[in-house]
Amino acid sequence: MSVRPNSTSPVLFKKVLFGFAFSPNLENNLHEVFRVCRFLDAELTLLHVGGCTEKKKAALSTLLDQIPDAQVVSEVLWKEGDPFQTIYDQCDILNIDLLMIGAQRHEGLFRFYIGSVARKLTRRVNCSVLLLTNASRERVACKHVVVNGVLSDYTAEAINAAFFVGQRLGARQLTIVEEIAPNKVQVAVDDDRSLVKSLRKKHQLELREDERVRSIVSAVPESYKEGLSFRTQPIFGKRGYSIGHYAEISRADLLVLNAEKHTSIFKRIITRDIEFILSDLPCELLIIRPKKERNA
């Protein structure tokens, strides 16, 4: 239907793995995965955990035949074993840059349901993860990308990737969200005097954050920025959650977050940023976790 918007910029994700199960959503997911890989210039590996039967093979090839262009280099792997461990290991073995997982939508109870395996992978796997919620046969244009700009591990990488993916998917608008946590303001608003104090402090923080984000953006290759207008938006809310809320309000199509290094058990218990987002997924979610951590 549409051409790839731009393919001159350097490729960020070379190898993509899509772990799939035979769900009713598989057809849409495959269309989406192939389309994204085409836009990103990436090699695709399809992985099914759960044994290979003739029936399954036939079903998959029927689906693959429907996909309009086979520009994307792809192979299909059939493995057996524990789904989490197998996918986790394959990411390492195949030197995967990006793992794609489909999220299912359940009306009523949760808006999107993310299986326990997917949830575990999102947290632990040693590469970036893209959670698909919007998968469809026909292309739904990606217009607005929201990325987290909070000073944290891999923030620069996340912003860089957001520009790359946004531009490749043909988005026009990129918003870098700086979540200003109440505890950073360090002034509790009790009365008028403390309000003035806290507003002043917030303004300082906003300026400082803006400065920092701009320096990150200036390091992003120019070719990634072509055709994308970006702005920064400070928001006040619970860290890691409010960005999802913001993405929902501003009708973002893709939310890019940075993963966090899990340094200690304590932090792992406390840090629930990604859990919050997963429990209320507003749109497609890309979690950036650079590969270098694996080698380290």
């Binding site: 469809s136 026009r172 009790d190 009365d191 309000l195 928001i235 809320h245 309000i249 009708r251």
Partner: protein, 731 residues
């Protein structure tokens, strides 16, 4: 009102303090006696409250002193903590008061100034009514001067007819009972009809003081006329004669019963104070915001000090504070002077005070109880919704039959259950209760703060919204969006309403959007609202009412309900990719050329389907113009770009080209349309997205619902736009 210096306003505060002390004296005496303490305990509490809270408090015009909410708790503590030894019980209760002060101080340190927001307002109302009824129960027979045989509040209430019969029987034989009871009834009569006596001299003195004056005058009359006072000594108050008697020291012996009394005092005292502080802030002429946490610390300190001197606990009291404000108080010094005048009264008139009969004091409390449990409270709870009346009654009965803390908890629980039943969706609460559901940010390039609330807004999570609204500052403009909410409860509706007032008073503005599609359970403005309750138009929200007023003002027509969508909307490219669901809140101008309405549409398909609510304006032109789209973010323009149209650059308008994306099929005609005047107009206004199609224009701002003031601005923009485009096109 201009601010004056401390010295300049001193005389006003001294006077206000004096008037308040006239009320505090009788109230302090009666509260102390009703609590089972020596009468001086109430005075000590008022003096300490006045001095300590004035020095260390964080509020501005509040008055602190003994409160009515804990009378029954303290009375029960004194009569049960040490069995039959009431004096020992008194000393133990004092230690509980000291401990309660420490707890309140700690609550203040933990910044629990927003504690009161955690409780559903109907449950709080029910608790207050229960306190009122128990005051009547415990004091009615004292007012009549007869004995009561029962103990429990409910039993005592049931016994009131018997007490009246007792009084009538005894009064015909004993003139002492007759005089005592009549004094009580006359006092009650004065309090009831105080406001209808329109005499400026009479109104100078507060009603409770009249009660005391009449009682004292009667006693002097008997003395000077040479009669023996028919009221027996036991029915008069007795202040301690010596300093040694006055100063008692608490017996520190912290066992669980004492600690639990202390916890109750701290809990109820804090809630009573915090509610009063909030209410008094609304009265403050200078519109200052109280530091509730700091005030809580000061109240805790005052409570401890008062307990050490044998006094009652100290709370912020609403009625005395409002009297202080109406008498012209401008700062905390009025609180200080109210304490100082009380010291003076006790020093000068201590012997005269001994002439006051208990029945007159009891009348003051019976009247207070009546006001707290006024029958209209039931009616107003019912008006908000039947479920609120149930919550109110459940809390009332639970409080009367158990204790205050348990009663409020039962009230909170029943509120939660009522939410489950109304929404039929308990998971909505269980799954989202710990999620931070409020987002606030300043909209780009505008001076508006946008606050969005998700899932539900109830007493459980209202404090999160409260924090955000507090932190923005009351002078700003806020659009509060509930369109992602599925349920908003009465406590939240009431809370939002008070923020609307706070902001209004300080020159800011809170405009609520997104409630229009939530149905209400009753016609009351604070009724519970939830998704899919009633037809849209039945109960109008504040926003809808304001839109209706705006329509009247401009001669437009307004209809709130859901409407048939006009087919012409579908011809706009913007709606071509979106499926329209419904439209509502339609404003049409007199010439039927400008139509503004809220529209709900879905983006995406099937699993990615997302419902969006947005306010749009459709404009009718006199002639056909070339199709174009204009927007800032390339939001519309991309749709055309897909069809192969490129950005159009308007010559000689660099700034315009940078800020706007303009596109359309016929570049030549479009450029002819965009003359200098139109470009300048668009540049100098807030950015709207505009799409033209044949002889119609579609205009919208952000993809969200707009507040009434934003809609007004949009209507004006539409008028100017139409005239400029028509002018440009015809020329």
């Amino acid at each position: 009102m201009p601010k004056t210096s401390f010295i300049g306003s001193l005389h006003k505060n001294v006077f206000a303090g004096f008037v308040v002390s006239l009320i505090a004296l009788p109230l302090g005496l009666s509260l102390a006696i009703a609590s089972g303490m020596p009468p001086s305990a109430g005075i000590v509490s008022a003096i300490v409250g006045g001095v300590v809270v004035a020095l260390f408090g964080g509020s501005h015009v509040t008055i602190a002193g003994p409160g009515y909410s804990l009378v029954v708790v303290i009375l029960t503590a004194i009569t049960t903590l040490a069995g039959e030894d009431y004096y020992q019980g008194y000393l133990l209760t004092l230690s509980a008061i000291v401990l309660a002060g420490v707890i309140m101080f700690v609550l203040g340190l933990l910044r629990m100034g927003g504690l009161a927001a955690f409780f559903p307002s109907s449950a709080i109302e029910g608790m207050m009514a229960a306190i009122g009824l128990s005051l009547i129960a415990k004091q009615f027979h004292v007012m009549l001067g007869v004995d009561a045989s029962k103990k429990g509040a409910l039993e005592l209430l049931a016994e009131i007819p018997a007490q009246v019969a007792d009084f009538i029987a005894l009064a015909s034989q004993d003139s002492g009972v007759l005089i005592t009871g009549s004094l009580g009834l006359i006092s009650l009569f004065i309090l009831f009809f105080n406001s209808s006596i329109r005499n400026s001299f009479y109104q100078r003195i507060p009603a409770p003081m009249w009660v005391l004056l009449i009682a004292i005058a009667l006693s002097y009359y008997y003395e000077f006329a040479g009669f023996e006072n028919p009221i027996p000594k036991t029915a008069l108050i007795s202040l301690p004669n010596t300093i040694e008697e006055l100063v008692v020291f608490p017996d520190f012996n912290f066992t669980w019963p004492i600690v639990s009394v202390a916890l109750t005092i701290a809990f109820v005292g804090s809630i009573e104070s915090l509610l009063s502080i909030k209410a008094v802030d609304k009265l403050d002429v200078f519109r200052r915001r109280s530091n509730a946490s700091k005030d809580l610390r000061a109240l805790g300190l005052a409570t401890s000090v008062s307990g050490l001197f044998g006094g009652l606990n100290v709370v912020t009291v609403i009625s005395r504070s409002s009297v202080s404000v109406t008498q012209g108080a401008t700062n905390r010094s009025s609180n200080f002077f109210h304490g100082a005048f009380l010291v003076l009264f006790v020093l000068v008139f201590s012997q005269t005070l001994n002439r006051i009969p208990l029945s007159a004091l009891a009348a003051i409390l019976v009247y207070t109880g009546y006001k707290l449990a006024h029958p209209l409270k039931f009616v107003s709870a019912y008006k908000i919704g039947f479920e609120q009346l149930l919550i109110f009654c459940v809390t009332l009965i639970a409080t009367l039959s158990t204790n205050i803390v348990l009663g409020v908890l039962v009230g909170a629980l029943s509120t939660l259950v009522s939410h489950f039943i109304i929404t039929r969706d308990p998971l909505l609460f269980f799954l989202n209760v710990f999620k931070p559901n409020v987002l606030a940010f300043k909209e780009p390039e505008e001076d508006t703060y946008f606050v969005s609330v998700k899932h539900s807004c109830t007493f459980l999570n209202f404090y999160k919204l409260q924090k955000k609204l507090d932190a923005i500052g009351y002078t700003k403009k806020v659009v509060l969006d509930f369109s992602l909410c599925r349920f908003v409860d009465h406590t939240a509706m009431e809370g939002v309403e008070s923020y609307v007032h706070y902001y209004e008073k300080k020159g800011g503005l809170v405009e609520v959007v997104g409630l229009d599609t939530l149905g209400a359970t009753s016609t009351h403005p604070f009724a519970v609202r939830k998704v899919g309750q009633n037809p849209l138009s039945r109960v109008l929200t504040r926003r809808q009412k304001q839109l209706g007023e705006m329509a009247q003002e401009y001669g437009w027509s307004f209809s709130a309900g859901a409407q048939q969508l006009t087919a012409s909307l579908g011809s706009f490219v913007f709606f071509a990719a979106r499926s329209l669901n419904k439209s509502y809140n339609k404003l049409v101008d007199a010439e039927q050329r400008r139509v503004i309405f809220d529209v709900e549409y879905s983006e995406g398909e099937f699993i990615a389907k997302e419902d969006v609510k947005c306010t749009v304006m459709s404009l009718q032109l006199n002639g056909e113009i070339p199709a174009f789209t204009l927007s800032r973010e390339g939001l519309l323009e991309r749709l055309y770009a897909l069809a192969g149209y490129q950005d159009i650059q308007v010559p000689n308008h660099k700034e315009f080209n940078k800020r706007f994306h303009l596109s359309g099929p016929n570049e030549e005609k479009i450029l002819r349309l965009f003359n200098d005047q139109l470009v300048l107009f668009l540049e100098s206004n807030a950015v709207y997205h505009i799409e033209a199609c044949e002889n119609r224009l579609l205009v919208f701002k952000n993809e969200r619902l707009l507040s009434p003031s934003e809609i007004k601005a949009m209507a004006y923009f539409g008028r100017e736009l139409v005239s400029l485009i028509e002018c440009s096109f015809t020329s």
